[in-house]
Amino acid sequence: MSVIVVLILFSIMVAGGFLVAFIWAVKSGQYDDKYTPSVRMLFDDKEKTILNEKTNKTNS
């Protein structure tokens, strides 16, 4: 019986953790710009790679 109380409290704690994470994400500005990061992650640090040639082809 008491195990279910522990379980409930634990599950609420987990959910609360996600709530805190959500609030933190909003606060730190992760929802301010939803477009740029999606482009940013595709950039390659290497100068000339095969990928560049590939994009050239698809562009032209």
């Binding site: 409930i8 477009y35 740029t36 950039f43």
Partner: protein
């Protein structure tokens, strides 16, 4: 002629940097061709810093660099006081600043701007916000000046826009995030409370009474922040409304929320059952979700723009022969200012020295420059084209003719959002009906059973809570807002949509609104030019950046380009060059005066009285061939749009111009009493006021600063713009000029949206009646409430979203 050879070569003559056609292949580097030195310089900088991946991400990602940086343009950034106001943050060593860079348009731009640190090691980090076209840069301010940072950006083709407004008020864009917190919290509460209520839903025989009580207490704890934090939004708004003797939609909502909470708390503590807390959490969650949905904003657009966001932040003042740059706010009457080519005149002033050639395009929408002579008054807002001029300031910046007009009508009180709208106008009756039926139930039962009386009173309040009603408006109009946005019609908020559906009068501005600001009709008057001659003209004008040159370039068909030698541009006068051994000259009358060709010209054009500004003469080998006449062109769809709208709406035209086109416009608008000429900005404003005093709901469509007063006075002001990122006066909506033809559809669609809202009111009332049937008998079980509440909300959301999308598709908007 080697014309065919030139043509075949021309195919590959696109600039490696900006993708424009290059006049010749003389400017090249590393087997790459550039259209001008500016583009080549950018390439050189990027090549040197190993940043050429810029060109691999997209083809020709740059912007044309023909307008080279004026050397001391950013000298004012050395001013410390000014710099301090511009910076977001500075600790003496490291500073952070946010620039607005409208030029960024592709992933290459993002990549390059985020790699600024490779160009100068003193730039620590740069971050792009592409949606808002913003770049925030942190740099070592003790090693590199702000001016240098701006100059680096300018040198690679991303000149930031720094305006007077940036200095005046910083950090205007404070985004209210509390709504997101509230939704997060409500979602958390909704999920958890529902989970804890499950045994109750399924009527599981809970073996131990204490377990049931524990669950209830946990539910109560979770609902506390929900009630006090998430619900506060509605209580505050309802209180504000009541204090102003206005029953807004939040009043019945607050009543419902309060009833939910009181009743459930009583259940929890008296009987240990969870009550209606799950319904309450769901209600708050859906309501707040609706609020987020209606708050769609276009971050990159600015609907509140005024003259300040367009004025420079500094001016060059001449004192005892010395030129000095001072912040605009320090400018005083009587001072002598120097305005260079392309700069804006910041205050009403008298021309003191030089040839004034003022382009008033952002005031009037009219693009051909007006020439001014010494001693003439020049109003603020004009842009000098040509050589520098000296002016004596007659009025302070804020007291100038146009800015004053602006200030007066910016004060127009903003109606508080929560007090307008269909839902609010109905809520008075709704609240009354709820209270009436709750009291009726209460007095019916009180004779037999006090308990049932109280229960039914509260459950009526609960079930009648008009949450579906409150949700239909945000979801319908929020969706409409999005649909319009996809069609390049950007509306400030959903309130504007409701106003738009109610207008009955349309007032049009002429110049730049129903005529094309960018495009003009060009007619050649004189000898008939051979196709070779035309090609020569085209080749010559492509070297010049003057708006008239660009227009002539666009007007001549064909793609072949000849090589131009000895090209010379005399700013404010004209251009000349040698093509295949022949000397071609194009320019204004005065340009030809210099070369003594006036006589020839006079003999040919004696009879033509001409406004000088929009005529350009052409001579080949010293012989005047004729002139190009440049006139404003009506947008193609204008007559269609006006014909369509004038049957449903009273339509008027206000033009600042003279009456030359009167007959055409009278025919278009159907009556002489509907077309007005020579209207000053104040006339336009008063005209709108007059209409409104006759109980008319007026839609004003305009484009320039001269319409600003009328736009803000009207019930809805739409500003038309060729490029939505460009300057538009403060207005309720911004419409891309290309989409003007859709205006009747937009107007029609707002009416449809309102009908959809009324339809969803019907649905929500059905649910309420169904619930009431049980509630008045005191039979509303928590389970029924928990099922009914989300279903009514979801069905309203689904209904509104689907119907708006369906009608948008039928109207061709999606």
């Amino acid at each position: 002629m080697t014309l065919t050879k030139q043509v075949s070569q021309e195919i590959n003559l696109t600039c490696y940097h900006c993708g424009e056609l290059s006049p010749s292949d003389t400017i090249h580097l590393d087997e790459k061709i550039f259209c001008c030195d500016g583009c080549k310089i950018v390439y050189e900088i990027l090549n040197e810093k190993n940043l050429c991946a810029y060109y691999d991400l997209n083809e020709s990602p740059g912007k044309n660099q023909k307008n080279l940086l004026l050397k001391d343009k950013y000298a004012y950034l050395d001013d410390e006081e000014l710099t301090r106001k511009l910076l977001d943050f500075s600790d003496g060593k490291v500073s952070t600043i946010t620039f607005f860079i409208p030029q960024m348009h592709c992933s290459s731009c993002i990549w390059l701007l985020e790699n600024l640190f490779k160009i100068d090691i003193n730039i620590l980090q740069s971050r792009v916000n592409f949606i808002e076209r913003k770049l925030s840069v942190s740099f070592r301010s003790n090693k590199i000046s702000l001016r240098k940072v701006v100059e680096i950006l300018t040198s690679i083709g991303y000149e930031p826009q720094i305006s007077f407004e940036d200095v005046e008020k910083k950090s205007k864009n404070f985004v209210n995030k509390s709504l997101y917190y509230k939704v997060g919290l409500a979602g958390f509460g909704f999920g958890n409370i529902m989970l804890l209520s499950f045994p109750e839903y399924l009527s599981i025989d809970v073996s131990s009474e204490s377990l049931r009580t524990t669950f209830s207490y946990v539910i109560f704890l979770i609902s506390l922040p929900l009630f006090f934090y998430c619900g506060s939004e509605y209580f505050i708004s309802a209180y504000k409304g009541l204090r102003k003797k206005f029953v807004n939609i939040d009043v019945p909502l607050s009543l419902g929320i309060l009833a939910f909470f009181v009743k459930s708390s009583y259940e929890i503590f008296a009987h240990g059952s969870p009550g209606y807390m799950d319904s309450l959490a769901g209600l708050l969650f859906f309501l707040l979700l609706g609020k987020i949905f209606q708050n769609k904003t276009y971050e990159v657009l600015n609907f509140e723009r005024n003259y300040k966001s367009f004025f420079p932040i500094s001016v060059t003042v001449k004192k005892s022969g010395e030129e000095k740059t001072i912040p605009l706010s320090h400018l005083k009457i009587g001072e002598r200012i120097v305005v260079k080519n392309g700069e804006l005149i910041p205050a009403d002033a008298i021309l003191f020295n030089g040839d004034g050639n003022i382009d008033y395009s952002f005031v009037t929408g009219e693009s051909s420059p007006v020439s001014k002579v010494i001693g003439e008054m020049i109003y603020a807002g004009g842009r000098q084209i040509g050589s520098s001029i000296e002016l004596e300031v007659m009025k302070e910046v804020s007291q100038s003719y146009l800015t004053q007009l602006w200030n007066n009508f910016q004060a127009k009180g903003k109606v508080e959002f929560s007090f307008t709208g269909i839902a609010n106008s109905l809520s008075k009756y709704f609240t009354f009906a709820i209270l009436l039926s709750a009291s009726a139930a209460f007095f019916y039962w009180i004779r037999t059973d006090v308990d049932i009386a109280i229960t039914s009173f509260i459950t009526v309040l609960i079930i009648a809570c008009p949450c579906a009603l409150a949700m239909s408006t945000p979801f319908t109009l929020g969706n409409t807002l999005r649909i319009f946005g996809k069609n390049d019609f950007y509306v400030k908020n959903i309130r504007v949509l409701e106003d738009l559906a109610r207008i009955d009068t349309i007032v049009w501005d002429k110049t730049g609104t129903i005529t094309k600001a960018g495009e003009t009709e060009i007619e050649f008057d004189g000898d008939v030019l051979s196709s070779e001659g035309k090609t020569m003209v085209k080749s010559l004008v492509r070297n010049s950046n003057h708006p008239l040159s660009k227009k002539i370039f666009a007007s001549i068909e064909g793609s072949s380009i000849l090589k131009v030698e000895k090209f010379l541009e005399i700013i404010g006068k004209g251009i000349e060059g040698d093509i295949a051994g022949q000397k071609i000259k194009i320019g204004s009358e005065t340009f030809f005066d210099l070369q003594k060709t006036k006589e020839v010209e006079d003999t040919i054009y004696e009879a033509i009285p001409a406004p000088v500004n929009s005529e350009v003469y052409l001579s080949i080998d010293g012989v005047v061939k004729g002139k190009y006449k440049i006139q404003n062109k009506y947008r193609e769809e204008t007559d269609l749009v006006i014909n369509k709208t004038k049957s449903n709406y009273d339509s008027f035209l206000l033009s600042g111009d003279n009456e030359t086109e009167k007959s055409f416009l009278v025919k278009l608008f159907g009556s002489e009493n509907k077309v007005f000429f020579r209207q000053s900005p104040l006339d336009k404003l008063n005209f709108i006021k007059k209409l409104q005093s006759g109980k008319k709901k007026v839609l004003m469509i305009g484009d320039g600063l001269n319409d600003a007063g009328a736009l803000s006075q009207s019930n809805v002001g739409i500003s038309i713009s060729e490029d939505i990122l460009n300057f538009t006066p403060a207005s309720d909506a911004i419409l891309n000029a290309k989409m003007l033809k859709n205006l009747p559809t937009f107007l029609n669609f707002t009416t449809i949206s309102l009908n959809i809202i009324y339809g969803s009111f019907g649905i929500s009332i059905l649910y309420n009646l169904f619930g009431l049937y049980f509630a008045v008998q005191g039979l509303l079980s928590p389970l029924l409430s928990a099922v009914l509440m989300p279903i009514s909300s979801i069905s309203v959301v689904v209904f509104t979203t689907l119907t708006t999308t369906f009608f948008a598709k039928r109207k061709g908007l999606l």
